[in-house]
């Protein structure tokens, strides 16, 4: 009946460094920033100061200890180094064969020289948020900070306090972008904190595919705290693919908040492979009738990795559908956390919500905490959720071995099959192939 409270007392909240960094930043940025942005940042820092870093007493952080993030020395990067990334580096980390508009961000800042913009005649705007604030201030002001809940999410608040750069994509009404947009976030400086802030607006009846990709050239620890806000207009379609392949010592926190209008279609993927500590909050608000959404995710953690996904499908209007599929593969001493919430608000009748979370534990030391959650306030709904935890099916392995396939290969085949049900939903083929290859590579490592 009781909830066991953590035995260790709450960590002290070392916010001084963050507040001091904010003051220094605000002094230097005051000259150039418009007043509304300064107000938004101020509100960000004041909520952050009030919330502090979450502890395990916080229900949303019950199984994931955020103390290492709180203790990580807070050194935000306000200006990116030129030439930190070479063309050779870039070739290594971009997806071969992918024809896409590529926006490159080095330590959270847009790098024009490395980026590659395909010519298109649709009138779509893509580039850095910093530039958009200067040139399209009205458009940014109307949306920035309107989807992300910086009043309740400490990491979103911290990001909001330091809004400076990130990706900005605006797809005008009826524009259909054939080539996907590849946002490549490269961390180069060890010991720093990168806080990209992304804003994606797909106006009515437009279609766009965005790949949000986090990689690193830095071997040692750094901290990425990203926030992405997505707005889709009526009848718009968006595919958002987040790939997290940070360095093995990295800390990664990402918040994605999407706001969907009537009859929009959303396909959201989250593939989490890297980082020592990864936390993803992916929240969809279905705020118009007839929205359809798919939340698709795969996390692989080995060694001492901690990977945590929190998703929300918030059905605010009737006749919406959300289907969620998250698969976890955990080996070594890795720790996985999954929490999927489905909210069905009072008048959201005829909701069709499905959620599955399946987890594979590959080793004795790996563990998973999963908590699928339904909160339903309407009666004419179809909601289901399911969660499973298990290991590879002995009979399936036996079957493969009886056909002359070695045990190790049989295991890898089964794991790959488990992962590919998720990966197959990705429509951008070169990316899917590269992810399959990365996965195989990781599974072949001895500590997996």
């Amino acid at each position: 009946m009781t909830r066991t409270l953590p035995t260790t007392p709450a960590e002290p909240r070392p916010l001084e460094a963050h507040l001091a960094a904010y003051e220094a930043f605000e002094r230097s940025a005051t000259e150039t920033s418009p007043p509304w942005l300064r107000a938004l940042r101020t509100s960000g820092i004041s909520y952050f100061a009030e919330l502090g870093f979450p502890t395990t007493e916080h229900e949303e952080w019950r199984f994931t200890n955020a103390a290492p993030l709180a203790q990580f020395p807070f050194k935000p990067v306000h200006r990116a180094l030129r030439n930190a990334v070479t063309a050779a580096d870039l070739a290594r980390i971009t997806f071969g064969g992918l024809r896409a508009c590529r926006l490159v961000f080095v330590d959270g800042h847009f790098d024009m020289a490395l980026s590659e913009l395909l010519p298109h005649s649709t009138g779509a705007v893509m580039g850095s948020l910093a530039a958009a604030i200067e040139r399209r201030g009205d458009l940014v002001e109307a949306r920035l900070g309107r989807a992300a809940h910086h009043e309740s999410n400490a990491f979103a608040a911290l990001n909001t306090a330091f809004i400076q750069d990130g990706a900005f994509i605006h797809v005008p009404p009826r524009a259909v972008l054939e080539a996907p947009i590849h946002l490549l976030f490269i961390a180069t400086k060890p010991g720093t904190v990168n806080q990209p802030r992304n804003l994606i607006i797909a106006e009515e009846r437009s279609q766009v595919r965005v790949i949000e990709d986090y990689v690193s050239l830095a071997g040692s620890a750094y901290f990425t705290n990203a926030v992405t806000e997505i707005f889709t207009g009526q009848d718009a379609a968006i595919e958002h693919l987040k790939i997290q392949r940070e360095g093995t010592a990295a800390f990664h926190v990402a918040t994605i908040e999407a706001h969907h209008q009537r009859q929009s279609r959303v396909l959201s993927h989250s593939i989490s492979l890297g980082a020592r500590f990864a936390r993803n909050d992916i929240n969809l608000r279905l705020d118009g009738e007839g929205c359809e959404s798919v939340l698709n995710g795969l996390f692989l953690a080995t060694g001492d990795q901690v990977v945590d996904h929190h998703t929300i499908a918030d059905h605010a209007r009737p006749h919406c559908a959300s289907h969620e599929f998250y698969h976890g593969i955990l080996g070594g001493r890795a720790k996985g956390v999954f929490n999927g919430k489905i909210y069905v608000r009072k008048d959201a009748q005829k909701t069709d919500a499905k959620q599955t979370n399946k987890n594979l534990l590959l080793s004795d030391e790996a563990s998973i905490n999963t908590k699928p959650q339904l909160e339903i306030f309407a009666d004419d709904v179809k909601c289901t959720h399911g969660a499973t935890v298990g290991q590879l099916d002995d009979q399936a392995i036996f079957y493969l071995r009886s056909r002359g396939i070695g045990e190790e290969l049989a295991r890898q085949m089964l794991i790959k099959a488990f992962a590919s049900t998720v990966l197959n939903r990705i429509t951008v083929e070169p990316v899917r192939e590269e992810l399959e290859r990365l996965l195989e590579e990781r599974l072949a490592q001895p500590n997996a």
Partner: protein, 482 residues
Amino acid sequence: MNTTLDPIENLVQSDYKYGFVTEVETDSVPPGLNEDTIRLISAKKHEPDFMLEWRLRAYRHWLTMTEPKWANVHYNPIDYQSIVYYSAPKRNANGPKSLEEVDPKLLETYERLGIPLHERAKLAGVAVDAVFDSVSVATTFKEKLGEMGVLFCSFSDAVLNHPDLVKKYLGSVVPYTDNFFATLNSAVFSDGSFCYIPKGVRCPMELSTYFRINAANTGQFERTLIIAEEGAYVSYLEGCTAPMRDENQLHAAVVELLALDRAQIKYSTVQNWYPGDAEGRGGIYNFVTKRGLCKGRHSKISWTQVETGSAITWKYPSCVLLGDNSVGEFYSVAVTNNRQQADTGTKMIHIGKNTSSTIVSKGISAGHGQNSYRGMVKVQKSAAQARNFSQCDSLLLGDKCGAHTFPYLEVKNPTARVEHEATTSKIGEDQIFYCNQRGLATQDAVNMIVNGYCKEVFKQLPMEFAVEAQKLLGVSLDGSVG
């Protein structure tokens, strides 16, 4: 909404037929809680020193605790100083020796509730311990059970007559430090049932306790302790009712089950405390801690509950599967109607090897009822080959109620297999239509569908209870189909 379904709305409104008050002289302590109250309760019950010590330790610990707030229920704060912690019907100095000496008014009360305390109970074949407010008024079939070595008596009797057993097992499953309400119970508990099944004995009849809250402003704090020795088997039933009153009453009970090697305990509850009126005035706060410990190998504990009453239900009958190959089961039907709120579920803690657990939870919400399933399945590192299956379904009747599911799955062993499934739906208009066109009235159709929905749980109940539960469900949902 479709007009053909309107009768469903009318179906839920019904009367609580156990809402009467029995006028008996009571012996109560003044309201309020302090060490003196506890000493007074202990003195009234002529308890040995170790009991008083235990109560005081619990009370001192309780003072350091704060009321938990995490449950998905809302209620006005409870004033612990305005509760009467002990209330008993007045009786002769020595207490009744047999049923003939029990106050006829009390017997009448139990007659009205349909609980057979008289000799005709022989026909029913169920041994009953009846608890009225704070004390046990009668226990039937004592002699017959005594022949087999089964001890079944009120907790007070057990403290006086079998202090060694009580001392050994009290708090061994739910320690006095466990949680806010369990600790409060440990300090002030008044009575309850005690049951001890010796080695290798299969208890020949169903044991049953009937709890009745009668006096106003009292809290009922009973404590049940069931011990099944090696190879023993017992099936235990619990029923409860209370009068209709406008103020809320607190019921904070503790149930401890202990199963040793190859022992089996089957614990069934039909909870029908007064749920409050349609506007949510009055009703019982049912904040109960129930836990079973499968200590021995191959032991089994099975909880079955039908929760139809109480303004607020907040309980999680749990199983700690410590012994290898032990089995835990939880079957639940929880109904919330009008303004009722229920936050209920279970915890299955797998520690031993090859342990398995099954959870089947059926929630039904109607009116403005809020029904939450909250459950935890925890597989510890040591629990190799642990197996769990959970199924939580919610049925919504009406568009103002809510159904919520909060399952926690924590797995630390790779050989464990844990599955959880939940669905939420309403009775389909097509299903009703199908029944209608086969000549079934909407009300009957709904009753039939709801009963079919709960069948998996009802079939776990002992026969007499299953019939009662089915009727109760019909009454609770009377008029709620919408």
